[in-house]
Symmetry: C2
């Protein structure tokens, strides 16, 4: 029987057995209902538990086990908690009550409609990053900040607190450029092109990107087709110092870790909140040491930003917050009504990127002009082009091969340029009748690409052959599906055929 | 390979294996990451999944398994989902995407600050009861209604929608009495006494009570020491028709099931909300067919209602909502500053109840007077006593043994009156020095009783020997701990001794 006080965090030792359960990063500890710690401490399912191993600890939510999955002297952890503790099978963990969450009363105050101070927000963010908040509390925080419940000053404080609560990168350049796209538009893979152009013009652009969460490909997934992206901060710095730019996966960098934690609950809830969007984007940028940032804001009926009024409000919040953080920021509104480029899926989007960089942009005029617009805006913002001349400079650098040369150099520095693989199985999907393409349902089109295997299968996805306004004959290809396996191809096709108007063709007859 | 469309709910069949994981009623489905359904449908950890078995289905949150806990053609369910589906080991379940949640846009509207209509709230409650809401969405709803974000009319609509969305009991009596206590005060076990008095006076009182969630005993736990409480609706009706009253566990009755679901997330969040408290209490009462309700509202610095202003606001909301539902309601404010009676724990509280009913109320004057006050209020409200005379009538019925006779008859009708068991291990905790008792920390005192084993061990808990204002000598007993096992006794004692001023004694020296 343990001899320590039940309030001491290290009162009970349990042996770890790995069950391998992935809870999407919610930290969960599994213990037998009859284990001595549960009985002595009064732990029940959903109790918040402090789990310590070596010098590390996490706060996890308890799930109890009734059968023989665990012995009473064993515990298990969700994969996220397992890796946070660096656990090994058979390790002894110490189990105790979680400490009271210091910022809980301030979270409650926000829920009741009070305004939060800089100290409040710093306390909340520290507790979020420290893992003290349960997913229910994270959902409550996201809800309490949703709509317009976070004012401009609170947004700035939240952004700063999030940027401070993780790694911060410092660069020896007077200007550090960055870009971000608000709200994914399928195929809008401008980042590698923008980085190549901007770096070719001598403006440092150390770009970290994310992998897909709900889309068929994130920038890091597409870039990984062309070069390694899984670089640590030191390797990333070496690439930037040599080539002036990079496109790496930001997941290992621990820049604004509060953002990663909040996004995990914000995304399934799907509440819009200008304050939280701005804090999410700009905390990452501030932590990455960016000084000049261009925001790509697609506006359209099925995009994240749906109206000019919504775009105005979001732009205003971006501008004010960036100014308070000492970041120069420019918003570029773009067409959010249909997918960009042809490919949807990591390899297909990488192929489009290469085509534009290599001057073979037939059918990719939209991707190319978006990339040069954004690069141009960054060049002007960063002082590499006079006002109104950035786009032309960007187009020139792309046309004369300097951007392509820079991109190859960046890929080499990241570990070597790779060939784009092709899919083993493809199938053309024809128009069922003659007519005019009126529009796309971006969300369901993306889902079709995901059913074909993207982004898990890099080669999977789809290639669009039509754009809005184009007239098609009956039987003319609308798009081509690509997959690793015939079963996946069939799933994607069956889904597409079961749905109405993913591609809206107006009957010509 | 399955041949149905991936959007059809029944596309994939998986064999059930029971893992026995208790998630505190969150519905979770476990599937191997490499299972064909995950791959084909693009399911990932935290996807919302429809699981069907026979004619039943649930919507559950996915946790994926990486190792060999499950085969790729197997699935498992949290205990809550397992029992909701009536599953057996080896059953084949069908897996598909959850349907879109119809009321999601109205939840979002509330989060953004819009007012909800009767139809909105009915839609939300139906989706909550149908299991469509994830725990994150439930937390968002509770947050969006917290503070004063639900107005009087919304509260009435929510209450009515919750009452409608489950079983409803109908009685052939013109008056159906009920009582409820807002905010648990340890030992405040008036219900069995009130029921006995009120029923003895001929006022029907079909009482359903809850088990402990965070306290050392719920009314159903204490009553279960004296008689069976696990009656279905039919058995409950038989008891009430014979004896005019009952005290049974409400958990099996499915009265306002939305309340049980919402409380599961409201409790860990701990946000106060008059609207949600009133909807919770009155939806249960309306569903139970109650027409006349007395609310016991303890007010005190460590009670749920902490000030007169808070009590006023809550009483006002109760009154307006009850009137809109056609329920006659009276609020009785009581002292919330210290525990009631002597015992804390199911058997110890049952013993106090019996002592009062049998006229042996030494040291239990507070429990007795609270019970007669509440019963008196109900008797007046229900027309069995003139205004101002209910308390006296209640005291008379208690004093002359009619209440005790009625209580015995009710226990017999519920399955037989039981003896109150005693604990195998007890220990007296003495005052460390002479002084005057200034106050109690109700929460930590309750935790001490829980560490001793209550409510799991019915005999466990503690007996208070002092009250606020009492002078004690050094070494005089403050309370006695009771437990089933010496280890539990020691845990409770160690906890008590590690804490400061759970019982605040002002040094006389």
């Amino acid at each position: 029987m343990p001899t320590e006080s039940p309030d001491r965090a290290s009162a009970h030792a349990l042996r770890l057995r790995r069950l391998g359960i992935d809870t999407y990063q919610e930290l969960v500890v599994y213990m037998h209902r009859d284990c001595h710690a549960c009985r002595a401490e009064g732990f029940e399912a959903r109790s918040r538990i402090r789990v310590s191993l070596g010098g590390r600890h996490v706060v996890a939510t308890l799930n109890t086990v009734l059968g023989d999955l665990l012995e009473p002297d064993e515990a298990s952890l969700s994969e996220s908690a397992w890796s946070a503790l660096g656990a090994k099978e058979g390790d002894l963990v110490r189990i105790g009550h979680a400490d009271p969450v210091q910022s809980e009363s301030r979270l409650r105050a926000k829920v009741y409609g009070e305004r939060l101070s800089w100290g409040d927000l710093r306390g909340i963010v520290d507790d979020v990053v420290g893992g003290s908040y349960s997913d229910l509390q994270l959902a409550a925080f996201a809800t309490a900040c949703a709509g317009e419940r976070l004012d401009a000053e609170e947004t700035t404080w939240l952004t700063r607190a999030m940027a401070d609560a993780g790694e911060r990168m410092a660069w020896d350049y007077p200007v550090v450029a960055d870009k971000h796209c608000v709200g994914g538009l399928p195929g809008n893979r401008t980042t590698p092109i923008v980085v190549a152009i901007v770096a070719a013009c001598g403006l440092p652009i150390p770009k970290t990107s994310s992998r897909a969460i709900t889309s068929p490909a994130g920038t890091a997934d597409a870039m990984e087709v062309l070069a390694p992206v899984d670089l640590d901060l030191r390797a990333m710095r070496r690439v930037v110092e040599r080539e002036g730019g990079c496109v790496v996966w930001g997941g290992a960098a621990r820049l604004s870790p509060a953002d990663d934690i909040l996004i995990r609950v914000e995304r399934p809830l799907g509440f819009d909140s200008n304050g939280l969007i701005v804090a999410s984007v700009l905390s990452k940028k501030a932590a990455a040491g960016s000084t000049h940032v261009v925001i790509d804001m697609p506006v359209g009926p099925s995009a994240k930003v749906r109206s000019v009024a919504a775009a105005d409000a979001l732009e205003q919040r971006f501008t004010v917050t960036a100014a308070a953080l000492g970041i120069r920021l420019l918003t570029v509104r773009t067409d959010g009504s249909q997918p960009v480029g042809r490919g949807m899926g990591p390899a297909l989007e990488a192929r489009d990127v290469l085509a534009v960089l290599q001057g073979r942009a037939e059918g990719l005029a939209d991707l190319q002009s978006r990339a040069t617009d954004l690069a141009g805006a960054l060049l002007e913002l960063g002082g590499k082009a006079p006002a109104g001349r950035g786009g032309a400079l960007a187009a020139e650098v792309l046309a004369d091969g300097r951007a392509w040369a820079k991109f190859q150099a960046i890929c080499e520095a990241q570990g070597g340029l790779r060939e784009v693989p092709g899919a083993a199985h493809s199938q053309v999907v024809p128009a069922p009748f003659a007519g005019t393409v009126r529009g796309f349902d971006n969300r369901r089109l993306a889902r079709t690409a995901k059913l074909a295997g993207a982004p898990r299968a890099k080669v999977a996805g789809l290639d669009l052959h039509v754009r809005v306004g184009v007239a098609v004959e009956r039987g003319q290809p609308l798009f081509t599906l690509h997959a690793e396996a015939p079963g996946e191809l069939r799933y994607a096709l069956e889904y597409f055929e079961s749905q109405d108007r993913i591609i809206d063709v107006a009957d010509a007859g």
